[in-house]
Subunit: 157 residues, 6 copies
């Protein structure tokens, strides 16, 4: 008997900027979940490199072809509270490296301690995306380099 | 619009023996997937500690309460071929440690190179199960120790 | 012939805040050492989230039941100098993850290079405390979450 | 009030062979513990490279200068049972690398699950001993190389 | 003033089999070194999956286009002794993962302890080759799978 | 036929300060490369602890004995652009730990994505230098400690 609820995953992050690695994780997750909400965490104590409104708009455009199955929202507060509000029990995350893993595990286990029904689901980034990460991209931009290789096609930085 | 296919995940391993960590991963995956197939890989070149027939029977008993949503099968050959035969595009794996992660990533990326439609989905083991692994359990048994803490309730070793 | 000197260990850190993981390490160390000094390092170039006086007072209260075997002190300067002043040759640290380990090893080997008689003694955090760390706790507080699960009973934040 | 019981640590391993790294860990532990028992685990299912009797004799000779504070024993069965029999609540282990750490943590947490009073105490190997390990030494010997740099002075292989 | 000696690197391994990752490391090293010797270590105590003569012949064919700048040899004994005999002071190795790194570091530091003039030079494998390793390839073959994606074009298994 | 171009490696970093570990990597690289350019990256958004002019002068002095084969330069912008300008296709980096490795791999693969002809060449730091790193040195100085053990002889801080 199929499990008939609509399954929504939240893909939280700062996405400063959103990369081709992020895009790939969301697209692959659309096979497993009915809906994926890209949740841009608004951290009042850490300033962003790219303005949050433009990031939201840019990510929306990346997923224009998904018939509304990807939503992009900004949230304040805890990720687990955002999940509850959105009726989602799944947090989606991409894993690139062993260092990533250690950090992600701490966050995921903390989230589960605070909200036992939550499950963090990990997909791997593709091999060719392993080195792509937002902080290196910001560094390249600061040094005047071109990062179009590392963000989705037509992404507005 | 909900995604209406039946979603089946394959949970492959040697399960020599099946642990409380394995059990927890399968039970949590039942929320995301309609069916989970525990696939015991039959490796003709490596001998098992526990007989495969008894392992299959023991694991089945662990999931008697799941209304048939967990199946237990033995397979020969490649995991990706087993998935194709079962009509599954998802491989389910548990992650415990950073060392696990490196190994799991190599296997998952190799599987994807051989069968691009396959997706490996990782769940974390619970914190209290992080140290539970089959090879340590076999070692304890060889030394005459009691392992009932580390296998599912009523599991027949 | 028993080794009859009083053995004092220094447990240094910023403890911003002190967690249930820290508490557990100190309590278990009391079996090995006669005295444990919780040393709150005062770093003039990095501002604290919780005021140092209140942290000192809060930690003291946690160990009120130890008959004076746990002392809480603030120190400026190098940890090895604090150890010398306190007549301690042991630095006590808890290890949670492989990432922790790499960092702790660098610090411990640097301390030993500066003061060859010092020995850093590591205990593991308990499995259920692996994900508890001060920086995640601070982040939860900033997002308006409840952290009482992660700090000692009656700890004043 | 000093803690007046005699403190004994068990340093378990296969010591096949015992290295300068092992020697250094034992000598440094003698400051913290009244007695250290080097416990050579006798694994009936894994054959040794060096005969166990000769290893026991060789290690004893290394610590002839310690006034009887280091004992060398062979044990069968679980390490935690050996500790109980010897009246020791401390398992001593050296840590070299992050890979070591992951393995050691699993073993230590399993031991604590089976015998909650046991505490595994870790010391770091010295930087110059980080690469010294028994399996590399065996490999060098198989290839006809000289390993005297890696074992204690006068150690009989 | 250019450094005018001929620079030869030894690329040691069991190459059981040689992979596209190995090929890429050798080709990139040809820019830095005048000659690269692929040294297949003959380990009398570990049996090979592929016969050593055929492996040697297959690897030679891979580098037929390099005008003799890549040589393929079998050696017994220590890698450092092979390097001395070949007049090489450089050991070339590819790095894929953090787990690789820990192992490679131990080997390289042991080699340097035995032969201080030797230098191990590491290149990274390309991102798309990160998961390609000889033991996974052997496993796929045992399971009846096709590995042509993972070995050099025209490589004879 | 020897490869007759002059081989130049760029050793980029912030060198804030330059350590004995850095010195050792450069000296060992002089056997492989004809010239090594120590490139101090000038990051306009991150302030230095030591003034860049003094660092440049201090590093130059360290290599006064190398007959001009080590040059010290300050650069702005991307490391790959600096390499192109200097006619170098080699980036030289030292590896200390597994954590280092993960970070270095991301940077190196990003550089290769932007400039496919670049090759990052890694040497290991010596075992006794594994724990020496610039950020720990800065921390010791802030705490009033002596760091002369960790920087090259006669290095002006």
């Amino acid at each position: 008997m199929p499990n008939d609820k609509i399954k929504t995953a939240v893909f939280p992050g700062s996405f400063d900027p959103f990369t081709i690695g992020h895009e790939s994780v969301v697209r692959r997750a659309l096979d497993m979940f009915d809906k994926v909400i890209v949740g841009i965490g608004w951290n009042t104590t850490k300033s962003r490199f790219f303005p949050i409104e433009k990031s939201m708009e840019s990510i929306r455009r990346v997923f224009e072809d998904t018939a509304g199955r990807v939503e992009v929202k900004v949230f304040k507060g805890l990720t687990v509270d955002f999940c509850k509000n959105e009726g989602s029990r799944y947090i989606l995350r991409g894993l690139r490296t062993a260092a990533d893993f250690e950090y992600e595990r701490a966050i995921a286990q903390t989230n589960k301690a605070m909200y036992p029904d939550i499950e963090t689901v990990f997909l791997l980034t593709l091999p060719q995306h392993t080195h792509v990460n937002s902080s290196i991209i910001r560094e390249i931009i600061k040094q005047g380099g071109d990062v179009s290789l590392f963000v989705p096609k037509n992404y507005m930085l």
